[in-house]
Symmetry: C2
Amino acid sequence: MKLEQATIKDIARELNLSASTVSRALKNYPGISSETKRKVKAMAEKLNYRPNAIALSLRHSRSFTIGVIIPEVVHFFFSTVISGIEEEAFSRGYNVILTQTNEKLIREKSSIDTMLSNQIDGVLISYSKETTEFGHFSSLLEKGFPIVFFDRVPEIPKAITVTVDDFGGAYSATKHLLNQGFSRIVHLAGPPNLKISQERLRGYQAALRDHGIEPDPAWVVPCFLGTDQEAQQVTTKLLHSLPQRPDGIFSHNDMTAVGAMMACKAAGLRVPQDVGIVGFSNWQFCSMVDPTLSSVYQPGFEMGVKSTALLLDWIEKKFKPEEADKSVILDTELIVRKSSVR
Amino acid sequence: MKLEQATIKDIARELNLSASTVSRALKNYPGISSETKRKVKAMAEKLNYRPNAIALSLRHSRSFTIGVIIPEVVHFFFSTVISGIEEEAFSRGYNVILTQTNEKLIREKSSIDTMLSNQIDGVLISYSKETTEFGHFSSLLEKGFPIVFFDRVPEIPKAITVTVDDFGGAYSATKHLLNQGFSRIVHLAGPPNLKISQERLRGYQAALRDHGIEPDPAWVVPCFLGTDQEAQQVTTKLLHSLPQRPDGIFSHNDMTAVGAMMACKAAGLRVPQDVGIVGFSNWQFCSMVDPTLSSVYQPGFEMGVKSTALLLDWIEKKFKPEEADKSVILDTELIVRKSSVR
DNA sequence: AAAGCCTATTCAAACGTTTGCAGTTATCCA
DNA sequence: TGGATAACTGCAAACGTTTGAATAGGCTTT
């Protein structure tokens, strides 16, 4: 940009000093007379001097910028996480550069490439649904480059990850339905290559078993797109195809839960009297649908804060990744609303 | 970062060439023998050379990075816009650095500051609710620094802006309610310092007038927070306080529309038979509430793409801002659902 | 065989900072 | 008064890249 920003040299020229003196004066180095410091600072103020972060980056091979790679911004959960990342990074003096992969592996790889050539100090990643092998991550990790994974985390030994307790959330959601007297509970499941989907499924199954019910594979139905339309179709079919009509639905996300709810209503079933429903994520709209939707709250903001804190600690060498397992699992919380209480 | 990336000098050393030759060879300058070019490229490949974007930025005083300043990421509309920005910037080889202000003026100013010291090439802004004077923008604009405003745009002469047709959207929403036979229509209004709020109010009033109804100021009720709770309270009070019960609600956003809907239901009124409701933005959940909510669609993604395209064109000097009025108003579209049709 | 001219390459400065080291004063003490 | 010491300040290189100008050969031309 043309934007003629004043530089250290400008200050030096104005005051007949050398650039080094000005630099030191600005940073309060000892060995610079207080008179000079005063004059330099005054002139800096006058010229509205701002250090050139690019030059600093070049000098220090540090950019004070972290990269964030996520599947999609337009996603309540992810935007909450971003908000937390932003907050922590900002308060510690870092910038955030953001790219979304739109769930494409190629874009994931090219994002990492451009970020590296921009000398970012580290990166936060939640990988795409297409990603099934993790070579592009582990090669960087081996070189000691700081990466923290959040939400969708790979099976790489020693990788630093921040997740929520998907198992626990699913367990208590299912348990809650059972306690309310629902017993024929289906699970609308997410993409099986994501660990979060696996965990939620496991939690569902564990709760059933602990209640003396052997989970039936036919009662786990795929909803991999995760949209309300898909769930609506799937549920409608479900209500007619199963020998016994389900009376409970635990869904791997809120959109699908709402889709299921719409399908039930359309089929003349009452929620929660005839069918109890619980979702996952606790999106804003849970309290806006009718009946209001019970859901498992995931602390997205905290997840952003925590993973950023870990990344920056690593970057700033406050710990060595091999030293201790720093991975974090955040608690979920079941928010009970009307859709599951009869 | 330690991450020992190979540099031009490394390639030069390996091949006993000078850095300048390597640089030129990589860029296919004429005057470099094709034999040398071949060798250089092979070596670059072998060492996995990636140009150092920081050094390039310093050299060219261009960072190929644009800044985005928005009030909040966790906002369906804004995250859609971000998605569009991302898309356009990425495809034209730019990075996006993002900050949110949380609706605070101080953070708006400090964001601009840090972005400037990071040598960004230009900035996209949707300003905070607190911002009432625009000195921090106009001083930059006068220096020729590229800024494009979107959605929330200031009253600065010649500022380049991208907005949606708020007036038209509000007009057709209100008109639609009138056509459906609703006539005592209230407006839940947004913060009056935002032009979008003013425009939506104006559109509402114009539609009433064109229908022979003189707008009554008492029927415009402030909902400045824009949350569903606020709207629920406000609406409940409204239903009891006005001499004649309203039979239509046009709300400045979707959350408040849903809040109003809940209040109506709680008061025993049927939607849409007794009260017709239309929102603004067409958030995802419009089709998930019961009854589904009519709303005015705002093309968020397009807004992101368009404003980024304008900004990059400006940065790349494809036009001079003083030459022509490049501002853009995107069309809105009324999406009619059940909440407003009887 | 000298002058001219390509061609291929290198030199060196620049972008804005930081920082180890060296240099210049003034001040103090003997 | 000379030398040591302290207190300031300046020099120059470095980070990785680009680029105008300079240079070194080799080849043509007359």
